[in-house]
Symmetry: C2
Subunit: 215 residues, 2 copies
């Protein structure tokens, strides 16, 4: 038992249920709104995942309100158990490739509110180096190539490089604002830290708005 469903869905489900109890159908809609620009999950993966989490005692069915007719229930609302919350914290504390790779970074970022400041920083930096490696690798491989590429291939390269460079710049802004907000000496308790983050992110957004003096 406690079979560690290594995928990204586990975190997505636990994280969502931590905010509020939900049933499968709506849970999926939430996830596909939250992560819609990056990926989408199907019922065929969600329901088995819920069953697994239920088996492992990480979630339980919530009691339906008293007035519901007994024996008939079409919605199954799940909520986190204590073990579920523990497991979620465990997942949110892992600052490794499983947090900053393409498939997983978005979900980890989405729940940064529940992640320690230190871990947030290491994940952001991890993702940045991952992307920088990628840029490095492709750039040097490209430099070694003597045959010139056709215009479509070139355009694809250009667009790909630009997209990754943009994400690196975005990460730079985020890392800066994280550093700034954790550098403030006061406020190690939860409430104040939260408003610090809010402010820091706002600053980052404002900077990003300005037309960039690139390069």
């Amino acid at each position: 038992m406690t079979g560690s469903r290594g995928g990204v869905l586990e975190l997505a489900v636990l994280g969502s249920l931590h905010e509020t109890p939900l049933h499968g159908y709506e849970l999926r809609k939430r996830l596909n709104t939250l992560l819609g620009m990056f990926r989408a999950f199907s019922y065929g993966s969600l329901y088995p995942c819920l069953r697994g989490l239920l088996n492992d005692g990480l979630i339980v069915e919530e009691e339906p309100p008293a007035e519901t007719v007994l024996g008939r229930r079409s919605k199954i609302v799940y909520k986190l158990t204590a073990e579920g919350k523990e497991r979620l914290q465990e997942l949110l504390t892992q600052a490794g490739p499983s947090a900053w790779e393409d498939e997983s970074f978005g979900i980890h970022f989405a729940f940064f509110r529940h992640t320690e400041a230190e871990v947030r920083l290491r994940i952001l930096e991890g993702r940045r180096s991952r992307l920088e490696e990628r840029l490095e690798g492709v750039r040097t491989a490209l430099a070694r190539t003597r045959e010139r590429l056709d215009s479509y291939t070139l355009e694809l390269q250009r667009h790909g490089l630009e997209s990754v460079e943009r994400e690196v710049r975005w990460l730079n802004e985020l890392i800066d604002s994280e550093r700034r907000s954790t550098a403030t000496p006061r406020a190690e308790e939860e409430g104040a830290a939260d408003s610090d983050q809010q402010q820091a992110l706002q600053e980052a957004s404002e900077r990003a708005e300005r037309p960039e003096s690139d390069k």
Copy 2:
């Protein structure tokens, strides 16, 4: 036989081998340079794929040069057969979801040089509507949501929307330049069409360079 390995690797391999014969190891490096910003393949998928293509007669081992010592050969260089070229054309002619979804669009675009102008246009437009659907879906779902999100979730949304919007603008440029180059009445043969495309893409790049008057 002729087991249609539905994945994206088949196209990637056939397309690469169409340009020049290669052995597995180098083929992988090429692919990971070509598509490095989007995805990366491992040997564990490449070699089985090559075996499958060999079984189906789409590729063959190239004869080693005569002076090579007989019976000893560490590199296995593959090249396309006539059937392989046919299959490649078949794959490049399909203008459907299998061409414009996230996992496959890059590879299809990379080989646009070998794709008919009409098909190119339909793939670009297909991808654009796919992305626009995604924008629509998330935007309306977001509008229906009454509870306000935390700053990290918001920032993720913002970044995601922006990235997709950028790709849509990129596609718009590409579609425009495709339209312009196929609209020219002369030149239906290969040579002239090719230089038209080159020019059109250059124009698109130049426009993209200018600071955008956004919105």
